[in-house]
Symmetry: C2
Subunit: 473 residues, 2 copies
């Protein structure tokens, strides 16, 4: 049995602390909460249309008559103030900027429906936006698309305390939903760094994975129903709250991960798991990559149903963490580090299982050092490189945006990934940034079917144009 030492993460890394970071590698907190607007003194982000070779499609432009119509549909919810439009035009990574002149803030599905009916008739392009925390530029306009914000669609509609089924509007902030269901002894089936700003509708539209994926699986399994407004304003009701429903095609699946290009998600029904009563965290040093994999297999076997996270980072990453975040490693220097989290219903049983596993791992040389913390405060240790779900976050940083560096790196990374039968976007989606590298992960037949589905559901292409689908079919 290992000695229990507190983990050396500082207080600001603790979940729920003011300005807490949910994940290393992407600063969240107040900046993200404000919707990624530029802090005073930060240089202006160049316009996307100037930085990328992209041409505006022949959509109409917003007229005074359109504005008047929108004002009738969402009284008090039409934003045209240039200052207020700065933040929602810029993406979270601050390398993309649109020039939308109108942001609409509907409160209901009916209002979304009326907006889209109008835009469809007038051939006006629409950019749906939740918390604007996406990493691939899916949530900001490329040109002057109308921004349709779900920020005011933030009501919980129902929660069932036996089944754990939550029904809520798309604009509910993930962290607020977490708080709501945790008060009722449940948790959300997903958790991610941007939770303080991201909207559940955006999570579903981008098929967000996050930190609980290993345990609770994908949104394709946990989302039970959706209400979606189609491009022409039709409200598609797939809002069942049933764990099992086999009545025909599972239409809601089409919209999970389609990034707002097939319809705008307005209401979500989602299954929440019971809140675990005990959470334990262990941080380990591993002598090599083979041992990391073996540690994963062993802990899947020995921890079984209580394993809720398995993450690793290498020595270089730990050095950067020390240098930039001033975090000391809680274990001896090692070539690799592994973080294991367990969540279960019985603290004693879980600690015993974890203890047995650690004894075995140390005894067999899989692990050279380790520390364990009983974590009542739920220490959030950031997703770093590879998670138990086979997901690699490669973070390359440079002084400034450099198209030549990008051009030198990207093809190599994508080709290598494709060669390994990997996905060029396991987690963050396609959006604007990755639409032209889809071919590395999807064969031509699949891309063609995507185009056909887009043409079927949004024949005028007004929903989130320039996103998700390759620019040349």
């Amino acid at each position: 049995m290992l000695p229990r030492r507190p983990l050396a993460w500082p207080a600001w890394l603790l979940r729920g602390a003011p300005g807490a970071a949910g994940s290393w590698g992407r600063p969240v907190g107040p900046l993200a909460r404000r919707g990624c607007c530029s802090a005073p003194g930060t240089p202006e982000v160049p316009l996307t249309r100037e930085r990328y070779p992209v041409r505006r499609l022949p959509f109409s432009t917003v007229s005074k008559q359109d504005l008047a119509a929108f004002e009738r549909i969402v009284p008090g919810g039409v934003v045209t103030d240039p200052e207020a439009l700065q933040a929602p035009n810029v993406d979270w990574l601050r390398t993309l900027r649109g020039c939308s002149k109108v942001l609409l803030r509907p409160r209901t599905s009916e209002e979304v429906s009326h907006i889209l009916r109008h835009c469809h008739e007038r051939n006006l392009a629409v950019n749906p936006q939740g918390g604007n925390t996406g990493m691939v530029g899916g949530s900001v306009p490329v040109f002057d698309e109308i921004i349709l914000s779900t920020a005011r669609m933030n009501r919980v509609l129902s929660f069932h305390s036996v089944s754990g089924i939550l029904v809520c509007q798309a604009g509910c902030v993930l962290e607020e939903l977490s708080r709501y269901v945790e008060e009722r002894d449940f948790i959300m089936p997903l958790d991610l760094g941007a939770k303080g700003s991201c909207h559940i509708g955006g999570n579903v539209a981008t098929n967000a994975g996050g930190l609980r994926f290993l345990r609770y699986g994908s949104l394709h399994g946990t989302v039970l129903g959706l209400e979606v407004v189609l491009a022409d304003g039709t409200v598609l009701d797939c809002l069942t709250s049933l764990r099992k429903d086999n009545t025909g095609y599972d239409l809601k699946q089409l919209f999970i991960g389609s990034e707002g290009t097939l319809g705008i998600i307005t209401t979500v029904s989602i299954l929440c798991p019971p809140k675990p009563r005990a959470v334990n965290v262990a941080f380990l040093g591993c002598p090599g990559f083979a041992e990391v994999l073996q540690t994963f297999s062993t802990c899947k076997g020995m921890l079984g149903e209580i394993l809720s996270a398995f993450e690793f980072m290498d020595a270089v990453c730990m050095q950067l963490v020390g240098r930039h975040l001033h975090l000391a490693s809680p274990v001896q220097e090692s070539p690799f580090y592994v973080l294991i989290e367990t969540s279960g219903s019985n603290a004693g049983h879980d600690a015993e299982k974890l203890g047995h596993f650690l004894e075995h791992a140390l005894g067999s040389g899989l692990v050279t050092d380790g520390t364990m913390a009983t974590d009542q405060r739920k220490v959030k240790v950031p997703c770093v490189l590879l998670a138990g779900d086979g997901n690699l976050h490669l973070n390359v940083t440079a002084e400034a945006f450099s198209p030549s560096l990008l051009a030198a790196l990207e093809p190599h990374v994508y080709e290598w990934t494709a060669g390994q039968q990997g996905s060029v976007s396991a987690e963050h989606g396609v959006g604007f940034r990755k639409r032209d590298v889809l071919g590395y992960s999807k064969p031509p037949g699949a891309l063609q079917l995507m185009q056909q589905l887009k043409a079927l559901l949004d024949p005028k292409g007004i929903l989130n144009p320039y996103k998700t689908l390759p620019s040349q079919a």
Copy 2:
């Protein structure tokens, strides 16, 4: 702590025993294994076209030239012997019978592709068939559709011992896959009564739920990739083996639960969970329905991650079980009975959790009697009425098929279900039987989108016609 008494189920109910039944309410075993052909002396099933008001669509009929072409595509795999065609023309419930004169037995996706290209050109209708164990007539021809059997597509293509990802052909029998992965310390994420005959491709095509749903969730979450042959013979490759892949629309989802009407699934990639080391079963008597629900809530909280099944039956059902299956209840007579199964990685921990729960349930009067069995042999207790996933199997039996009885019962059951926001087919799909009651569970907009998707993917309507979609759009 309750005394441990062996459960009173007879040996033939044990899993793996010869001729074992996997589920009460549907006899499986040799009969099902043979593909539901009629035993000698059983009366002939009337033709579907004579029993139901359905009209043949204007497809071509199979010519000598077609047979010759098929023989070139699948040498030795063209069955035209009327005797051999009897069984695959009749459904498992023995109330539907088609009159197909050709059954094809391809071995590869390429052969399926060539068959469909030919059928598409010739406007020949095709009925895909796996184990022919469906309950709604989705797997048998209505008229003379060509039966395309996946029986010879039964190879495991790969298994990854760290991730538990299995890739196999669609015609693999579920029980054989279970055996294969269990030898490698994993289990299939689904299990059902018909496992001795059903094919994994059919499971995916019908989005089968089954006994492990509560723990491992739906196939929309556990199926990682599919290869599908479309109506015109195009092979659609969505066969990733990645837990996370967010590169565009999740096309494979379209085919999960679409009952072979949008494409024929030829290869499946599926995530297998680690094999639990301990399985426990408790059988309890409950004084009322409110107590059944409260017992469910309580055991979700106290058993948490190890709860793998929660089923209940009422007193009438238990009486029928006693009368017809000669099974004695292992607990005192009660208005309701509950079965709880746990699966976990540590036998001691699991038994302790279950013991605590039972003590609490007895002490608080939720449960009036109970018995517990440590189940090394994995006693299979059948799905009876309501499962922990909110799924009700209403079994009404009569001496013989009675259209008037059916007509008197069905509208009432469907209306009541719709009134409760329930699904008219939580588990068994739509197939031929339920296509005209979809409107109880799906709004017109959703039915219209289903029709549009069908028209997009199968414009000639040759794939499993007369199924899944309402007869009048």
